[in-house]
Symmetry: C2
């Protein structure tokens, strides 16, 4: 008569309560009418038996899993330590509040991305997907669209009726950064960006260009560098900049990691920051305030992007949100020591 370790099912509860499974199911879901007395009896029994619904069975039947996938880049996430943690925190906080679970979905950047997306949605395990920082040219996103699968892209921008995104005001931030450098007396400003395909980097570049024009500064193609959001790459590229006949007096880095690489390089070259060369970053990652000189940067609200993104996804899943969501969250200048 082991009543302890056996798996308790809906049926067990129903039998003990002398009702049908449906009644118990109704109590559980809170939907549908159940007599108060019956409900109480069943609730007690549930506690007594320590009954926990089998989520697999429930999902299979109801076609809802209450699980959302977070698509991270297999390789990149190690370099985006701060970013990944913050954004997932935001996503998680909203998910938790709505009883949703989070599944980590690492996807490679090159191989068979198409297959991976398809597998994710066809497996029926997920109610929706949140994509972190995908590249602009990821053509397989179309697969998600065609399958009418609910998804939201974060730190990505594309004004399409089929794509929901939450991003920061990158262009405006870039303008702020450039104007700030200008206000500090800089007229020769270089731009160091990420990969060409990233919408973030593109937007920041276009903000930089627009600001130059507005300020009446000359745009020089040689001072625009496309690297990658990594310290090492920035360190290397910064060297090239220093070797030029005509050096800029300030560098606007489209990413804090790049800014850190740049600062490292500058210090090793014996240059004083900001006197000999000013540096401004973008993001305001944790390290930004800890390095010396502390990094002046444009802060983007990563945690909030995560929150808003998850909230949006939930609205889409529930059908509350009908038309496409295109949100750009505000950024702010954080003045520290590097400019």
């Amino acid at each position: 008569m082991s009543n302890s370790k056996k798996i308790v099912t809906l049926d067990d509860v129903a039998q003990r309560a002398k009702v049908s499974k449906m009644t118990v199911s109704r109590v559980l879901s809170g939907k549908g009418p159940v007599a108060i007395k019956t409900r109480e009896r069943i609730n007690e029994l549930i506690k007594e038996l320590d009954y926990q619904p089998n989520l697999l069975a429930r999902s299979l039947s109801s076609k809802q899993t209450m699980i959302v996938g977070v698509v991270v880049n297999k390789r990149d996430h190690m370099f985006m330590v701060d970013y990944t943690t913050k954004i997932i925190s935001g996503i998680m906080d909203v998910a938790l509040r709505h009883q949703y679970q989070l599944m980590l979905c690492p996807v490679s950047s090159e191989d068979d991305v198409r297959g991976e997306y398809l597998r994710l949605i066809r497996s029926k395990m997920l109610d929706g997907l949140i994509l972190l920082k995908r590249k602009q040219d990821d053509p397989y996103i179309q697969e998600l669209v065609e399958a009418k699968f609910p998804f939201v892209m974060l730190n990505y921008k594309k004004y399409s009726q089929d794509i929901n995104f939450v991003d920061a005001k990158n262009k405006q931030g870039a303008i702020m950064a450039t104007e700030y450098l200008y206000s500090k007396g800089h007229r020769e400003i270089a731009f160091m960006g990420g990969r060409v395909g990233e919408t973030n980097s593109n937007d920041r570049l276009s903000g930089y260009k627009e600001a130059l024009k507005k300020l009446g500064l000359k745009y020089r193609a040689v001072w625009v560098i496309h690297g990658e959001y990594h310290q090492e790459v920035a360190y290397r590229e910064c060297g090239k900049l220093l070797d030029m006949a005509q050096r800029p007096t300030a560098i606007f880095c489209a990413d804090d990691n790049m800014a850190i690489g740049v600062i490292k390089r500058l210090r090793e070259s014996g240059l004083k920051i900001p006197q000999d060369m000013a540096v401004i970053g973008f993001d305001d990652i944790q390290i930004a305030s800890m390095i010396r000189p502390a990094l002046t940067t444009i802060r983007q609200p990563i945690y909030d992007i995560g929150k808003t993104g998850m909230q949006t996804l939930l609205n889409i899943i529930n059908g509350t949100q009908q038309k496409a969501v295109h949100r750009l969250l505000p950024v702010e200048l954080v003045e520290r020591e590097s400019v």
Copy 2:
């Protein structure tokens, strides 16, 4: 005749192949005999129809989900940015290689932890659990043990037949740190640790004590501080240390974050590091090498702990691993500028 958007099931493949579901199922799993010709035909059909198994149905039937839960502390993970990312990377890499998925399971530290664990295992969604840095006194782990649910604890230590863990050689690391300080001429060494309940902090403290004894140094209770693995707490506690009549000449911090807080405090007090006060940390998080002075610390192999942990869990799930796994991975001294 829409052959495109309809959901393709096992049955569809079977019918088109003019075989029973079972045969297709056998092809999919690779188990059980299937005639080569049949197998080929079915494989082609699977590709042609772009069939993807419904994982919910499969799991419900087979009682295996191929999903492992990673239990993180709801609050802490934001402060353990570097740690969380690294360890999950390690876990993820192994999981991926074995076709396992990862589910994030945020658990609060106080509220109804017991209920949360129970819910996780009873929901039948997970094949196993990896717990990150739980407190020593978490009594509800017993629930997992009693349910005979496969789980592994990381950065936790308890020699029990019922508990599998992978941790770093914390005690040895602490001895290394203390001896290193000694070798640099320090005879008055303070210890700043985390919460009393954490096995990590305990082990590091006991290493410190052992080293003192071995080196013939006097142990002073007032120089042992129990704070929390946070910069702010360390910053505050460091102040107390500085106010003492008799100051130490070196501080061994049981965690890099604490060391950073300490360094900040020391600098603000106008003390030179390491001349006026030496500081050594533990972990070697990313920032350690970036702050000034760069932090001398004991590196623990976090990524490897993740990998080993996941590998261990898989062995337990498969029944390959019978007796308890108690692994301690080696640490190493990283000499930089703060000692």
